[in-house]
C-alpha cells in the first residue's frame, strides 16, 4: 500500500482559515501557452496531485506524446478528449498560504465569447495572454473588450514566451504600452503587465533571473495581493430578497425575516430602507448573519434582515437605502452577449431574471451588433446569434429597479430565458457598453508606463 502523505510542510489551520478568495479567469489560446501557464500555477502551488499527474501522463502516452499534456487535466469530457478541444469553462482550484483561488479556465476557440463572458462574469481579475513574438493581435483586443464589457476590475497582461525574444525589455515595453492604451480606452480600471515565460518558469511563481530590468510582481504574487473587496463607501447598497423566513413556532411566533445575499454595499441596523418596486419605506430593526445578530453587514454576506414595520415584502423585491434608491423602469437598454444556439430576434417574448425577480419581457429592438475585433458597430442586425455582442431594448411586464452595470455588477446584470424550454438565451448588462476612458497621464510623470 502506498502512503498518501509525504513530509511536505502543511499550512497551519490558522493560516488556512485567514485566507481570502480570489476568482479569476484566464483568456488566451493553447498557442499562447495558456495551458502551460495554468499547469505551472497548479503544479508549482502543489495543486496537481500524484494520481492526477499519473493519469495525465498515461493518457498522453496513449496519444503518442512524450511529455504530459496538461490540457488533459482540464479537458474533462469525453467529447473534448476525442476532439482534442476544450468546449466548456473548466473551474480549477488551488491555494497558497495567502489566498484561495477559483480559476475559470476559458477555452480559446470554439464558443469563445460565450465562455469568456461566463468566466468573466464572476471574476475579480482576468489574465490575458499574448505571445511576445506576435504582440497584440486581433484576439488580444477581443479579450480586452470582453474584460472591459464585463467590468472585470483587474486585468493582467501576461506577455509570454519572453525566452523566445531574448528576454528583451523593449519587446515587452512596446506590447505593454499598446495593450494598456487600448484597454484603458475601453475603461479597464487597472492593468498590470508582466513579462513571463510559462515554459521556463520566469515570473510565474518565482521571479525571473533573466529579466532583472523588471521590478514588478510575478503572476502569482500579483494574484495573491490584488484587492478583492471593493470600495464599499461609494457603492449603492442592494439586497435582493430571496426568501421570507417565518418559523411560526412557539419559540418564534412573530419572527419574519427577509433572507438574501447582499449584492452590493453595506446595510446597518437603524437605517431607513425602501422596498422596491412597491416603494414602501421602513427601518432595519435587526440583521442576522447566519445565526449571529450584527449591527452591520456587507456584500457578499448572506443575511436575514428584520424590518420595523409589518409591510408586504416577498421574494423578488429589492431592499435599498431610502436615500439611495434606483429608479424603477419597464424599459431596459443593455449590452448583451447571446449565449444560446437559437437566435434572439426583435419581437422575441422572453423571461428576464434580474436579482431574484423573474418577469415577462419582449425584445423591442436590436439597435446594433458589435464586432469585438475592431469595436465596429453594425446597425439593426435584426437578430443576434450565439456569441454575438449587441445592444438591445427590452420592455418588461413589470417595473424593475435596475442599476447601471457600471455601478453595480450584480444588480446591473440580468439573463434572458426562453419561456418554452427554459434555455438561458442571453446575458445582459444594463447601460453603456464601455466605461469612459481613464484620464490620460502626463508622459513626463515617469520614464516608463504608468498603470
Amino acid at each position: 500500500m502506498t502512503s498518501t502523505t509525504e513530509p511536505t510542510e502543511p499550512l497551519s489551520v490558522e493560516q488556512l482559515s485567514a485566507t481570502t478568495l480570489l476568482r479569476f479567469a484566464t483568456a488566451g489560446s493553447v498557442d499562447d501557452g495558456k495551458s502551460t501557464l495554468v499547469g505551472r500555477l497548479l503544479h508549482d502551488s502543489k495543486s496537481i496531485l500524484t494520481d492526477q499527474l499519473e493519469a495525465v501522463e498515461h493518457a498522453s502516452r496513449n496519444r503518442g506524446q512524450d511529455t504530459p499534456d496538461l490540457a488533459l487535466l482540464t479537458d474533462g469530457l469525453r467529447a473534448e478528449r476525442e476532439q482534442g478541444i476544450t468546449i466548456d469553462v473548466a473551474y480549477r482550484y488551488f491555494a497558497t498560504a495567502r489566498r484561495r483561488f477559483i480559476l475559470a479556465d476559458t477555452p480559446g476557440h470554439v464558443q469563445y465569447t460565450r465562455n469568456m463572458v461566463t468566466g468573466a462574469s464572476t471574476a475579480d481579475l482576468a489574465v490575458v495572454l499574448v505571445d511576445a513574438r506576435n504582440g497584440v493581435i486581433e484576439q488580444t483586443r477581443r479579450h480586452a473588450a470582453v474584460a472591459a464589457l464585463l467590468r472585470v476590475p483587474h486585468v493582467v497582461l501576461a506577455v509570454n514566451k519572453m525566452d523566445l525574444v531574448g528576454y528583451e525589455e523593449s519587446v515587452f515595453a512596446a506590447i505593454a504600452e499598446e495593450f494598456t492604451a487600448y484597454a484603458s480606452e475601453l475603461g479597464v480600471p487597472e492593468i498590470t503587465a508582466i513579462p513571463i515565460s510559462a515554459l521556463a518558469g520566469d515570473n510565474v511563481v518565482e521571479p525571473s533571473a533573466n529579466m532583472d530590468w523588471y521590478g514588478g510582481p510575478t503572476v502569482l504574487e500579483h494574484l495573491e495581493t490584488v484587492p478583492v473587496s471593493h470600495d464599499l463607501a461609494h457603492c449603492h447598497a442592494r439586497l435582493p430578497v430571496q426568501y421570507v423566513i417565518r418559523p411560526q413556532t412557539a419559540e418564534h411566533p412573530d419572527y419574519r425575516g427577509y433572507a438574501g445575499q447582499i449584492a452590493a454595499g453595506t446595510f446597518r441596523v437603524g437605517e431607513r430602507v425602501t422596498v422596491l418596486p412597491s416603494g414602501r419605506t421602513t427601518t432595519i430593526s435587526g440583521i442576522d448573519l447566519l445565526g449571529k445578530p450584527v449591527d452591520a453587514a456587507w456584500t457578499t454576506q448572506s443575511v436575514t434582515v428584520l424590518l420595523a414595520d409589518d409591510i408586504d415584502v416577498s421574494r423578488g423585491d429589492l431592499i435599498v437605502p431610502s436615500k439611495d434608491a434606483p429608479p424603477t423602469t419597464q424599459d431596459v437598454e443593455a449590452t448583451v452577449c447571446h449565449v444560446a444556439d437559437e437566435a434572439l430576434t426583435v419581437g422575441h417574448r422572453v423571461l428576464l431574471k434580474h436579482g431574484t425577480r423573474t418577469v415577462k419581457a419582449i425584445v423591442k429592438d436590436i439597435p446594433s451588433r458589435l464586432t469585438l475585433d475592431d469595436l465596429s458597430l453594425h446597425p439593426h442586425p435584426g437578430r443576434l446569434v450565439a456569441n454575438d455582442i449587441g445592444r438591445v431594448k427590452i420592455r418588461t411586464a413589470e417595473p424593475l429597479p435596475v442599476d447601471s452595470y457600471a455601478d453595480s455588477r450584480r444588480t446591473g446584470a440580468f439573463i434572458l430565458i426562453d419561456p418554452a424550454d427554459g434555455t438561458t438565451l442571453t446575458a445582459g448588462m444594463v447601460g453603456e457598453s464601455f466605461a469612459a476612458p481613464q484620464p490620460v497621464k502626463d508622459e513626463s510623470d515617469d520614464d516608463g508606463w504608468d498603470f
Binding site: T5, L16, T20, L77, A90, Y93, G260, L351, G422
Partner: protein, 312 residues
Amino acid sequence: MTTVASVSEETESSPYALSHLDSLESEAVHIFREVAGEFEKPVILFSGGKDSIVMLHLALKAFAPAAIPFTLLHVDTGHNFPEVLDYRDRTVERHGLRLHVASVQDYIDRGVLKERPDGTRNPLQTLPLTEKIQSERFDAVFGGGRRDEEKARAKERVFSLRDEFSQWDPRRQRPELWNLYNGRHAPGEHVRVFPLSNWTELDVWQYIAREGIELPEIYFAHEREVFQRSNMWLTAGEWGGPKDGETVEKRLVRYRTVGDMSCTGAVDSDATTLDAVINEIAASRLTERGATRADDKMSEAAMEDRKREGYF
C-alpha cells in the same frame, strides 16, 4: 522603470474582505435559498458522508430559526458502514427531519437489479435514486458533489438539468452567469443542485473544524480489520470480502470518503483529531477519489458515464 500599482498592504486588513470560508458559506446559503424560493419539492441527498453533513449544516443555517423546507433522501446500498447509518438516524432525530430511503437491497430482493460479479453496488444506486425522484416528484435534488473531485465534475453547473430519465447531457447544460441561476425545467425533469461546487476537500474539513460539526467516527484513525484489493484497504464483512487469497489484517486506518463498503477504501492514518486530519490532507499527494474509490479507476470516463445515467 516599470511602475506597478502597489495594492497589497491595506487590502488584506480590510474589514470588508470575507475569509474564503465565509465567501464559500455565503455562496452555498444563497444557493439553498434560491432553490427554496423557486422549486416546489426539493430534497437533500444525505448519505452521512462529510459533504452531505456539511450541506445539511449549511441548510440549517440558511433557514434558521425556521426549520429547513426540505426533506432528506438516502440511497441505501445495503453495504453501508453501520457507524454511518447510526449517525444518519441520530441526525434525523435530533433535527426533526423527514428521511426518504431508496434501498438497493429491495431492488435486488425483487429481482429488478442483479448483484455484479465484483460485488460493487455503487453503480446499482442510480435506478433506485431515479425512481424515488420520479415517484416522490422531487424537482430539485441537492448533491454534495464538488468540482475539485473529478474532471467530469469540473465542468458541472451549480444548477444541472436532468431529463425525465435523470440523464445528464453535457451539451444541454446552460451557461451560468453571475449568480443568476436558471432553475426552469419541464414537468418530469428535475434539477440537480450542487451548493458545494466551489469547495475543495480541504475547505470542507476546515469548515467542519470551524463550525464544530460532528462526524461519523470512521473519518478518524482507528484500528480495523481490513484486507487488500485493487491496491486499497477494504473492510472485511458480509458484503463479499475477503475472497480466497486475500488475507485480513488489523491496521490503523481512517476513511477519507464514505460510500459503499465494497468500493470505498481506507487509508493508513494516525490522524485522530480534526487538526491532524487537516494537516494530513494538506500534505497529501493523492486526491480523495484516487486514494479511496475503486469505481473511479475503471476508466478515463467512468464518472462521466455514471453521471450521464443519472448518478449523483
